[in-house]
Amino acid sequence: MALVGSWLYNICLAVVCVVPTQNELKFHYTVHTSLDVVEEKVSAVGKALPDQRELYLGLLYPTEDYKVYGYVTNSKVKFVIVVDSSNTSLRDNEIRSMFRKLHSSFTDVMCNPFYNPGDTIQSKSFDSIVSAMMVQSS
């Protein structure tokens, strides 16, 4: 999963992989391409659906190997989760709750006075929450 921040420029704040031996670069690539889909959804929401202004964006697009889910906060920080397609046990609700947990631990990181917005996230509690979530889902 990855966090990409900010409304002016897209910086990658954190990328965490379940299996370190897998090719991390491939995940970075997938995340970057999914950002375009996120942008498209964000700009479409304003015009088409004034009622449904949810933060959760849902399944961005399925590729042959992975499914990519997106979520945008009000401060324009984007969360992207990439899941193995073979793992069919993960349902929508579970992904939603994963994003809620991510959002609340990200809020805690933001409120840390020693964290400057835009830096890479180096908080231990954030990392442990994310790792626990990934272990639980795989």
Partner: protein
């Protein structure tokens, strides 16, 4: 609950600490300007963190006016326990937020006596507003003025890029 008072005391201490720095006693003008910008900078960072926390469960904001309404109602009441009394706009990016009994000024006696000191108390809230707007995606310039204690007006000008 003692919550509001705690912040007011802390704010007073921050202000006296910032203005007690020795380097500032040399030149009264730099003293005033540097102190204000330090306080504003603190407010900016706090505003960013606070907006993240408050907007966690909110649906996305429709437009600028929606954001300003959020600031006037929910944001202001979470911090100062009351809403902004009056919001005016020229619909071209300038907003004036008026608070008739501004929390940080109520403890100072009303009247002309301390009118000059009032802007120091407004630097932190200006920073709060600017930080909140910045984290929601809007660059802005925030300034404040006091005509009659304890009522204060905050002027927000959204920068169009």
């Amino acid at each position: 609950m003692a919550d509001d008072v705690l912040f007011e005391f802390l704010h007073m201490e921050i202000m006296s600490y910032v203005y007690k720095e020795p380097r500032m006693r040399d030149d009264p003008d730099t003293e005033r300007v540097t102190g204000l910008s330090i306080l504003e900078g603190m407010g900016f960072r706090v505003g960013q963190g606070l907006t993240d926390r408050f907007t966690k469960d909110y649906p996305t904001f429709k437009d600028e006016l929606d954001i300003m309404k959020f600031l006037c109602k929910d944001f202001w009441s979470s911090i100062f326990r009351k809403q902004i009394d009056n919001l005016r706009t020229n619909h071209q990016g300038t907003y004036v937020l008026q608070d008739n009994t501004f929390a940080l000024l109520t403890q100072i006696s009303s009247g002309k006596q301390h009118l000059e000191e009032a802007p120091k108390y407004l630097a932190f809230p200006c920073g709060l507003l600017r930080g909140a707007l910045s984290s929601l995606g809007l660059e802005s310039l925030v300034s404040a003025e006091v005509a009659l204690m304890p009522s204060s007006k905050f002027q927000v000008v959204i920068q169009k890029t």
